[in-house]
Subunit: 343 residues, 2 copies
Amino acid sequence: MARIAVVAGDGIGPEVVAQARKVLETVLPGIEATEYDLGAARYHRTGEVLPDSVLDELGQHDAILLGAVGDPSVPSGVLERGLLLKLRFAFDQYVNLRPSRLWPGTTSPLANAKPGEIDLVVVREGTESLYAGAGGNLHKGTPAEVATEESLNTRHGVERVVRDAFARAAARPRRKLTLVHKNNVLTHAGDLWARTFNEVAAEYPDIATEYQHVDAAAMFLVTQPQRYDVIVTDNLFGDILTDVAAAITGGIGLAASGNINPDRRYPSMFEPVHGSAPDIAGKGLADPAAAVLSVGLLLEHLGHPEAARRVTDAVAAELAGRTPGAPLRTDEVGDRLAAAVSA
Amino acid sequence: MARIAVVAGDGIGPEVVAQARKVLETVLPGIEATEYDLGAARYHRTGEVLPDSVLDELGQHDAILLGAVGDPSVPSGVLERGLLLKLRFAFDQYVNLRPSRLWPGTTSPLANAKPGEIDLVVVREGTESLYAGAGGNLHKGTPAEVATEESLNTRHGVERVVRDAFARAAARPRRKLTLVHKNNVLTHAGDLWARTFNEVAAEYPDIATEYQHVDAAAMFLVTQPQRYDVIVTDNLFGDILTDVAAAITGGIGLAASGNINPDRRYPSMFEPVHGSAPDIAGKGLADPAAAVLSVGLLLEHLGHPEAARRVTDAVAAELAGRTPGAPLRTDEVGDRLAAAVSA
Ligand SMILES: CC(C)[C@H](C(=O)O)[C@@H](O)C(=O)O
Ligand SMILES: CC(C)[C@H](C(=O)O)[C@@H](O)C(=O)O
């Protein structure tokens, strides 16, 4: 039976993860879940972000379910670099998978988008580019200061995520893949991406491909989101584009994600795209939909497509039954979803 | 009398620039305009992108009016790096000014945005960060290839654009300035930006300030664009955010921009945000509104606020009188705008 590490985290993290666990344990009884205390609270209590021993333990699981980490009281970057990105990098989670669908019952801020019309998935590279953490400050605090950030991109890293994206596009009905970069300015990295993409494309003659600059893609996500099926892109561009994709499909409150190590050498990690939302934490008002949809991705990854479908269908039915703007109770939503997947 | 260099460029560039010149010469009779032949056509004819002698000549003007450069027949990056970015860097145009307004008569793809509600300006840094062109490819074309792009940021470069943004925010009624970066991941450059921003903010106690990560800002531009007044951000983030800002305010067909050297040591350059649009080039169908609005920014920069206002008002009236979706003729729009500014 699969062993899942649960990192509930901060703010609304524990609230939504409790519901996600409930749904997971209902749909796959016997699954073994272990909680790990990481995040802002532990950092304040012990000064620790991610001890090596905990990293080792997490590595012995089949998957990680993460709620949200972060709190305004922790300096920016500490938990992001020390915990979230550390996990993505240590476990070589090179496919950051972010589907966006405009579900029936949800409203898009876009006037012309109808439920069912937007159904895209962004395959965001998860281990390279500007996220490598290669930078520094020289003459810090003086008028002569220079700060650098280096984007590091390897053929190895680009090819594997591009291959993953082609395989995903091949498994979807529309069979369309868009490469997004900025190769008219980032000529070196952009060239590596474009060359690699074109070489792999030759192996997939029946997949329609296109290239777009990131600025154009951000625009088209707003003006013509229907045109996208699968998008493959770099870590930073993917970060920005997936928030736009979430915005047009009902908000990050509904956006699920998987940080996937397709080789299965390391655990993959599943997390809602939303943050810890300290403003509504502890009130039982957070929508667990994104966390539960992330469980769907986790089940898919662990080889339980039927259970994954039940989870996703349950969320779809829940959303379809909602009155836009009506308040919700986190645990009630979780109960309904758990009931739906057990039915 | 001001001397303007006109780079009409490629595709629809010459068509929209012809109208922009017409309006400029009507509102400021006696202005001296000289055409420079640069862009894809010249590159194909002579192999030249921007000869030093032409750069010198351009430098002797008070401002540059640019249409659009680029064509699919030119390898990506050649004209962008060799011409457009070369001009921005050579003339130290460190303020890339991009206002976005939802004008009466235009439609936003956002269901809840009414004309008049969106009125923001992005102050995008124009001479640093990933646009520095510091990158390379090692072991190119082999499985061991690594491609780098370096983001270079200086206190000098950050402070001057931050100061410019504060001054612009101070001159607007809402007096609000949002810094956008990604300081939880790009901790070195993000820290330089945030420190500099906070230091300058201390000199402007009556300006409301906030910080947002770029992914959140991209999302909020879609879900709550009304919240923004002035945004200051880095070159790459500004590139992406201004396309989103254009998308929510009627498209890049209406977006004007100025590449400004506030010191006036070098000419500033004004250009519509749209590209050369080869698909509709030569048909007289391109909307010159963005090019004419860019003339408004040019006039403002050269110290003709009254003429600038007449140009902007003329475009506003033109847009207010349009039937959404109705076809337009480039020269007819130009004629109407010229008539309006002369009245
Ligand atoms: C919190 C931050 C480090 C993270 C990222 O930039 O990847 C987040 O924005 C996300 O998209 O998961
Ligand atoms: C053409 C390209 C180099 C340019 C940029 O990235 O700055 C364009 O996208 C813009 O926004 O003016």
